[in-house]
Symmetry: none
Subunit: 222 residues, 4 copies
């Protein structure tokens, strides 16, 4: 469950001091990004404070404003960096047309994204909780991307390759389950009896999740 953006302040500072690879400005921006993700994902846009972000990034508040122009812009940059990669990253595999393979892949990619970027995932969730006022440009893209998948799934159903179901609801349920591993990381940790610093073992989860989805679609897992 511990991921880059869950690093503590001191670790971030260490990263900055031992500049691994990146030149100064880039490194600073990366530290700010990480810090902002941590704060926004925990407290939402309104609840996050630039003071906390600056401290977490090892900067003073005025210095932070040297790199960013406003809290709002910083937030929107992060939000759109989620959205931009998102619908493309979660497109169905175009190389294959096997429902089992495509759906397995899809589930795995969504789960990986959630576990690799829990902070960004949570920012999106918190934005949606807040009513999604910043998502105006996102919805059309998301709807289109979903419809493309729906078309494929519906065809599979028409071809008798999977059981008949509401494709939109299927996609939302997959979304809900995978997103859950990011948003409810704390609860997952507790329920699985892991210590707060223990890392989640991803493989069994991926396996269970895939099987569950495939069976739920009336497909026999391997």
């Amino acid at each position: 469950m511990t991921t880059p953006e869950d690093d503590t302040l001191s670790e971030n500072l260490a990263d900055n001091l031992t500049g691994r690879g990146k030149p100064g400005r880039e490194r600073m921006l990366a530290a700010i990004r990480e810090a902002a993700i941590a704060e926004f994902s925990r407290h939402g846009f309104k609840g996050a404070s630039t003071k906390a972000i600056a401290e977490r990034a090892g900067l003073t508040k005025p210095h932070l404003h040297y790199y960013i122009s406003s809290k709002e812009e910083l937030y929107e940059d992060l939000l759109y960096s989620v959205l931009n990669g998102w619908s493309s990253a979660f497109a169905f595999d175009i190389e294959s047309d096997d429902p089992k393979q495509v759906l397995s892949h899809y589930v795995r990619k969504k789960l990986d994204y959630a576990l690799d970027n829990p902070g960004l995932s949570r920012i999106f969730t918190s934005e949606v909780l807040g009513g999604g006022r910043n998502l105006g440009r996102y919805w059309p893209v998301a709807v289109k991307s979903t419809q493309q998948k729906v078309v494929v799934i519906n065809r599979w159903m028409a071809e008798g390759r999977m059981r008949s179901l509401d494709a939109r609801l299927l996609l939302m349920q997959i979304w809900g389950m995978t997103q859950h591993y990011a948003d409810y990381g704390v609860q997952v940790q507790v329920m699985l009896g892991l210590a707060p610093d223990q890392t989640l073992d991803r493989e069994p989860i991926a396996r269970e999740l895939t099987n569950f989805v495939l069976l739920g679609c009336g497909l026999a897992p391997d």
Copy 2:
């Protein structure tokens, strides 16, 4: 998707003016509760402002403090009103021992709660996003309640009445899918092509969800 606690300010005010049933103080407290749910669920504890809560309830800020003692207490009251009823409301049916029936019931209850109390559900989610620092007393209860269910499910598996799987993960996946209909209400609305004021038709969702879960558990839906 529109529910009591999603009412807009003007609607709340109307409720207050046309005092349907409740006497003054009770009505005010109910309005405050509704307003607080709306604000906390949208912005989290830190991000919500007493000013917004007061306005939504049709009060001035000092007047709000005539009814509540502090923002924190108001929040905790709401949070624990979720938690208290929760684990008991989501216990497995003790009257039946049929996996299909018990799981169907469970899924339906969780879904109903999410759709009937999206605001409260979101408050819980936002609390978990924030790290769950107010949930200290909750975890033990939740863990115990989960373990009771795990025992039952494991017995079913041992008795060959359902396929072998990780019961804890199953429960979390159900949690994720049902919670999703509260947390991601906006997105669901958009994806299903509903207008913001249109009500979600609960039955098809419940049907699809139940079938999906039962099949995922290796059980044949009716």
Copy 3:
């Protein structure tokens, strides 16, 4: 050290319920007076709150305002009730012209007042600490009263009946020492090793104080 106005809230309430002698309104006003003295003497005019006064008197805040017209007026009433009796009560004995007797009497009266009315005494002190902006009408009276005493003392000195000193400073020093037993009640209590609820034994203090003053004036105590 414990005096009427140091009574706790519950005692005041008891006083009110068991109405000893006074009719309702009078009793209420007395309770308010006592409560106001306690609060103003502890926190000063600005620091005292009508809420605390009301609670101490066993009233609600609106009810308090039924009896008083404003915090300021309540305060000024108390302040002037100190001042009015003051210069007359502390006049020199006109029946005697013996320095020893007159000064002894004066010291004793001042000490008694301080120990009998520590609250009122402290209100005066707190008013002086605050700059004495409400004492405009008081100064001329006080100055006149002091000058009368100064005249007498100066005559005694001219008649060789006491050592030569600055009469005004003498009077201020007496003032300081006696007032001290009211203002610094807590410290006196601690220094004399008394428990907070233990009563101060007045007689030895009066004796020491008188002797000290008389000797300081070059007069032989009895």
Copy 4:
């Protein structure tokens, strides 16, 4: 009577603009300290407002919080700055064992402190008036320091070098008289017929006070 901490707002501002000596931050802290002394000594802890302190120091309220962390801490800092130096500054002279000399010295030091730091002295008085809840750590020190003096005085009495009296009461009376010149500065000013901006002539007061105390102890002044 007019002393550094009694400066008016405009004078403080002038001090800041004409930065005599101190660099910016130090000067600001000094101005805040002065302003805080003025306000706390006038109105007590509860009655003083950070707005007034800020204005007196020539700052906005948020700017004040750039320098201090809270009203309470500012107050406690001031209070303990009185207490810390106090018991040491008012120890008896160890070089001499002559009652007359030691007592004269003591009286003079106490008087000087009161006249040099009337604001701080008044803060202590207002704290005692309020019940001394912040003085928990102070009492033991004060008691010990007093007891040391009591031992010395008692020895003098046993050696027949001064008249027999209650040493604790003597010390309290001295305390009361000297403290009076700080706490009751306004009244002293009025009684001595000084204009509000006129400075008190300290020497005659010191002389009278010393003589008074020595005679009160049965010692012949020089």
